[in-house]
């Protein structure tokens, strides 16, 4: 990574943290939190949907499981208030990752559209369980958490920082995956699973690693969300619109890229939140979702970042050819070697 890139990243991270400390109104801060939350969810989803090519519509189930895990922990085990509940996030992540292995092992025996259907079925199974396991979830009555004793004027700040930490974690994992054999193996699986097996990729293990990591991130974000919103019920915590929103953001920003999903969230969530505030509970923003999907399919089938990358690549090649009198100039070999 070049010095300029490192400096840029440090600047971006500092700016993202500082955003949580500027004195803005609660509803603006709320938009920040939801933007960062969806950026984390989309970046995590990208591991399995973007890199492995398995379009999961069931991530909201794991988001909901994380949310319920937080509320159940509050109710059945006294974990205190304030910042302490944030400390149980890793345990929720590890627990959900372990739970997801048998589920993923079964679901990932299917591919493409069948996998999408299997995962959305899983979502409704989890929602139905949330309705019916009343002794644990209180069914449709929902579950509440006692509000944390945070100062009113900075109430959202800890949640923003926690969501940002989840996003950074998801980005770091994605960054590592992109540069490792795991990323290459996932790309091979996305391209042709049988051929990937042929070159020695342990296909099932690689897919399960991506799936469990991805849903672990979703569950931890769900847990932070549950602590933030204080009251959850099945349709709210296990909501298909969460899954659809995530997929939309990844497709808009660019599948299989590091920054694409976060960029997609940065565009979609503020717009969605703004329209939700403006148009009340009319859910007209869903029409905007559909419109955005159409725009992506028609004009940006690869997503924003891959389209920009292709455009920049074409320009660079054209410039290189012009400079070298028609010959393509290659970088030195040491820059290409892993």
């Amino acid at each position: 990574m070049t010095v300029v890139r490192r400096a840029g990243l440090a600047l971006l991270l500092t700016a993202a943290v500082l955003v949580g400390f500027v004195g803005v109104t609660h509803w603006i801060m709320n938009i920040f939190i939801f933007t960062v939350m969806y950026a984390g969810l989309a970046t995590g989803w990208n591991l399995v949907g973007g890199f492995a090519g398995y379009t999961s519509l069931g991530h909201a189930a794991f988001f909901g499981i994380g949310a319920y895990a937080m509320d159940v922990t509050f109710e059945h085990h006294s974990i205190g208030a304030g910042y302490v509940p944030f400390a149980i996030l890793p345990f929720i992540g590890i627990g959900v990752a372990a739970l997801s292995i048998p589920l993923g092992w079964i679901a990932m025996r299917t591919r493409a559209a069948t996998f999408a259907i299997v995962t959305i079925t899983l979502l409704f199974v989890v929602q139905t369980l949330a309705f019916n396991l009343k002794s644990i979830t209180h069914g449709s009555q929902g579950m509440g958490i006692t509000p944390p004793p945070f100062a009113l004027h900075t109430y959202e700040r800890p949640f923003y920082v926690a969501m940002l930490a989840m996003l950074v974690l998801a980005l770091l994992i994605t960054w590592y995956v992109q540069r490792s054999k795991l990323g290459l193996a996932l790309a091979a699986i996305r391209d042709d699973e049988d051929k990937a097996h042929g070159v020695g990729v342990h296909v099932t293990a690689v897919k399960l690693i991506a799936f469990s990591t991805s849903v672990a991130i979703a569950s931890m974000i769900g847990a932070v969300w549950a602590y933030y919103v204080l009251f959850i019920y099945p349709q709210f915590a296990v909501d298909p619109l969460i899954s659809i929103g995530i997929v939309l953001m990844v497709f808009l920003g660019g599948k299989g890229t590091l920054w694409g999903p976060a960029l997609g969230a940065l565009i979609v969530v503020p717009a969605q939140q703004y329209f939700a505030y403006e148009l009340g509970a009319s859910k007209l923003y869903l029409i905007a979702y559909a419109g955005l999907f159409l725009v992506i399919m028609l004009f940006l089938p690869q997503g924003i970042i891959p389209s920009l990358a292709s455009w920049a690549d074409r320009n660079r090649h054209r410039r290189a050819r012009t400079l070298s009198g028609g010959q393509l100039v290659s970088p030195p070999l040491h820059e290409l070697l892993p």
């Binding site: 290459l184 193996a185 091979a188 391209d191 051929k195 393509l328 290409l336 892993p338």
Partner: protein
């Protein structure tokens, strides 16, 4: 050079029945051995038996003085036997560079990967020249070259090539056969199965004709090219009497082998 690979009385087949009915074949190190024969003779089955995709019913497969008959595909891969199948095996949506890197997926030594990559780039300039191109956007011949380049990432001792020129135009075919020559110059051993018998034998130091699941005739590539019966059966009826043929050396077919070739197919 001694034999790197030898098959002794190999009998193998699928559910439908036996395909190989006692194949005896030896492949010398740093040479190209070309296996030709009619459709259904068992040429590809020989390669599958060597790479471990198919377990023989009887007989032995020895590689580098070791009996590998019972070893798995992975273990054979680790010993340096790689199989380039007839079908396109590249990942079309991945770049040429990533495809080549995938060749070293089972290699854990990063220094070895870097060194092999440098060798591959030097040996196959297309890898660097088209490194960012999607493999699916390359021509058939280029894809085959990249496939061969990818196998080099495993630093193979023996490369099994199954009909590498199938479906290629003449220019691409020449490119592929030139690459096969380069492989032997680099000290690799190649067992080549080829429908295009003339090109296959021309590039091979050793040739064998497989028919009905057994090797019916062996000789140097050039001697087989010069054989009138081989010419009649596999080279389009006209035996080459060119200077190439006159340079033929090695084992000539015995009268028995020739009469066997005359048997109705």
């Amino acid at each position: 050079m001694g034999a790197l690979l030898s098959l002794d009385g190999v009998v193998a087949g699928y559910n439908q029945g036996l395909v190989l009915k006692g194949v005896n074949l030896s492949v010398d190190a740093s040479e190209v051995t070309c296996l030709i024969g009619p459709n259904g003779a068992g040429k590809s089955t020989v390669l599958k038996t060597v790479s471990g995709l198919l377990k023989p019913i009887s007989g032995t497969v020895c590689f580098d003085s070791e009996d590998i008959t019972s070893l798995s595909t992975h273990e054979r891969l680790r010993r340096g036997i790689v199989h380039v199948p007839q079908d396109r095996s590249l990942f079309p949506a991945m770049t040429v560079w990533d495809n080549v890197l995938m060749g070293a997926h089972i290699v854990r030594d990063h220094a070895a990967i870097r060194s092999r990559l440098a060798t591959v780039v030097e040996m196959f300039p297309i890898v660097e020249r088209r490194r960012q191109a999607h493999a699916g956007s390359l021509s058939g011949g280029e894809q085959k070259i990249v496939e061969i380049a990818r196998t080099m990432m495993l630093d193979p001792k023996l490369i099994l090539l199954d009909e590498p020129s199938i479906g290629l135009d003449p220019r691409s075919r020449r490119l592929v056969f030139d690459t096969i020559r380069e492989l032997t110059k680099a000290g690799r051993t190649v067992l080549l199965v080829e429908q295009n018998a003339r090109s296959g034998l021309a590039v091979a130091q050793h040739g064998a004709i497989l028919e009905g699941g057994v090797v019916k005739l062996e000789g140097t590539g050039l001697s087989l090219l010069d054989d009138p019966l081989v010419a009649q059966l596999y080279l389009g009826a006209v035996a080459p009497t060119t200077s190439v043929a006159s340079r033929a050396t090695g084992v000539l077919p015995s009268p028995n082998s020739i009469s066997a070739l005359k048997e109705p197919q």
